[in-house]
Amino acid sequence: MTEHERTQVIDSSEETRLLTEVWRSPPGFFGWFTHVNQTSIGKRFIITGFVFFVLGGLLAALMRIQLSAPENNFLPPDLYNQIFTMHGITMMFLFAVPIMEGFAIYIVPLMLGTRDMSFPRLNAFGYYVYLIAGVAMYLALFLGMAPAVGWFAYPPLADARYSPGMGVDFYATVITFMEISALAAAVELIATIFKQRAPGMSLNRMPLFVWAVLVMSFMIVFAMPPLMVGSVMLALDRTVGTHFFIPGAGDPLLWQHLFWFFGHPEVYIILIPALGMISDILTTFTQRPVFGYTALVLSLVAIGFIGFGLWVHHMYTTGMPHLASNFFTAASSMVAIPSGVQIFCWLATLWGTRPRFATPLLYVLGFFFIFVIGGLSGVMVASVPFDTQVHDTYFLVAHFHYVLIGGAVFPLFGGLYYWYPKLTGRLMNETLGKVSFWLTFIGFNLTFFPMHYLGLQGMPRRVYTYLEPLGWGDINLFVSLSAGLLALGFLSSFINIFWSLKRGEPAGDNPWHADSLEWGTSSPPPAYNFRHIPVVIERHPLWEYQEGQDIPVVTGIRSDRRELLVTSLLDAHPQYRAVMPGPSVWPLLLAVAVGIGFGGFMFHNIFPVVGFVLSFIALAGWFWPRELTREVREESS
């Protein structure tokens, strides 16, 4: 039964028919390129993100095969270097950030009780940019010209002189291009969160996931530009011979500052939405409000702020003055305080409750173990002297996988199991879910914990091989076998996703008896999300009302066109109705035009001009006055 039919069975009123009609996305193959609804775009981000996760995981598997024995000949050095670079790029740029944004795009408008994101077409544009960027990177890999300089691409190694060929050009241009997508989503999420909350949902009644997404979005807005500036400078150094990062004329360390001023916050950009997910999942599975709402919000904001002050701890070995470095030790370890507040608020919430140990909660508990270890090793590497020993070794590889996989991937899978019913209308299989959790959890720890030891034993990272007498072979073999177990864990979750799509138990609107508004609409939600905009009078709207009791709603928003309600920034008083644009192919065309401008720059300087002209045409099409525009203008005059 499609959503369409279902709505009609439940409610065949004229209003529903109109809403369905107005918010419908065009069917068919070509229609597919015109979708702008937040639920379609969000799903696309999520699915594409998982595809890149699988690709990145396959690359990791190749690396682990190569490293399973000393002086192995499975991969030649050049290919290995491309593979670890692409693994890093994939996981950081093409998987983690987009998938977090995807969840945000899908869930946040539902949590806020609104009908769409604030700029639906920009939303679609962002997705196409992401897709084009990812496909371009992988094209480079399959053509054997992926960058081989690591995802942080330090010059002078990344300069044209030491990395001839197209690899780093792909890196520099595609990364800049890709960040357009991240920025678009961030700007939109901020606008949506600030201006489209259901009436009554003042800032201090927002679900914690929404808070987290807000902090993440602000961080993106401040962290991405330095990277874009840096990668444009790198592209210019390579293509037109500027000297920003050339020793003597410029400074290679400038790149490291720019890169890490982005790169460090990047880690928190990935982590923070995950923290929001955890708070919400804990609320639901303990069936009580998570303790310390204000403390949690403040610590999210604090983590966001502090995250910008630490970039230098990636550069302790560059010969900085000792006093300055020690300042960054203190600053870096400060992040542990808000993180500690988060952890202990959750522990206080969990204490003495009898939570439902469903798969999402298991992933959250897995997070506790893994993330705390990653955080503790993080404090250790914040120390200047200790970092000089483990920087760029497998100790660090272990540390950041503990933080990234423990801090982002585990909550993400928790979130997937948790929101899957809202995405598809069906629950994921619990038994398989538990099996996959345990496989993932055990596989993860067996894979990454021994890497700490390898690093202390002197194994550098980013080496395609190591010599037999160093004695690292046994542990590396063990690690590689464990990585197989981990892969099996992820695989079983993916099988679960596909299996449950058809055979999962139908979920109903609110299978977990959760508190927030996204569960107040059908699963999956209709294209217009809510027939009437709900009114919120406290922090846990769905717990306020008995089963079956209706939530108070706002009426008076037109159903015969794409309208939603705009509310005031602090306490969400209704302000006015806004009309949203509908399906359009222009976002896709604009993304292609911008892509031509960026991508072509690698080949010839004429392409930016071509791209500019094409973008101009696409923008003209995008903003061409339409029937609706006229209608709105007349109405307001």
Partner: protein, 335 residues
Amino acid sequence: MDLRRLRPVSLVLSVALLSACAGHQSALDPQGPVAERITLFFWIMVSVAGVILALVLVLLVAGQFRGWRQRQHRPLTYIQSRNLVIAAGLVMPVVVLLAFSLSSAATDRVLGKPLPEDALTIEVIGHQWWWEVHYLDNRQNRIVTTANEIHIPVGQPVRLLLKSADVIHSFWVPNLNGKTDLIPGKTNTSWVQADRSGTFRGQCGEFCGLQHARMAFLVEAQPAAEFQAWLDRQKQPAATPADPALARGQEVFLSSQCIMCHSVRGTRAQGRVAPDLTHFGSRQTLAAASVPNSRGHLAGWILNPQSIKPGNFMPPTQLAPDDLSALLDYLHSLR
């Protein structure tokens, strides 16, 4: 505190987990004052971290246990929760981190310790993918040049001047000290000291391109007298071979393309872009500690360097078997 008291712990761990080669290139088996302090600090941090991890897990499990045994919710009250968060989430981290930052800075002072003016100074220049090493006298003149193997006297601090000829590398001997980057256009300084004689392996610590994996080196710590003898010998140019077989080898060397890149002091080979070979015969390894410096490996290396270290910048050389054999003899005679 004295690290010696902790050494058994690290030793047991090392031996238990990895018996074959402990100590060869390991931060857990410090052999000099800097690495020693870092390792001590590491063990302290691990212990504190272990306690904190245990605390979190105990709180998690105990809280659950309580709920399930009572067969009903027994949540903390607001006050209890607040106190827990303040004590464990705020006060504890602040105290722990304060202690951490201060002791980290104290440890760091060992790294930044000023060395005596007349300390032995070695200049290390990183190349893709090998190490150029110069010994300096106290007026900063280069007195000895070698490559990929560094000799130091036991028990004396040795100042390092670190530079790069191309991309960023990082100088790292885990048993002696943490890394310091070699950055083009910049001179970084660091120091090492070995308290025992022995051979310690070091490896480039910053990804530097294709053969980053095979950019290693050896540090040979010797008693002062032995070191001085070694240094004196290294100062000498290569002797002109008396043996006609070796003379033939030298002829092969000087008439082939080798001299475009390599130098052997005392001959007209004055190439600067590849390792100095003046005392090559006394080195233990080839190609930045990639393979032992045996006759077979050396022959393979000269005929086809790419087969040993794909991507390195030495071109292959075609030689008649007799010429090759004479050349090998000659090179290994350069002691």
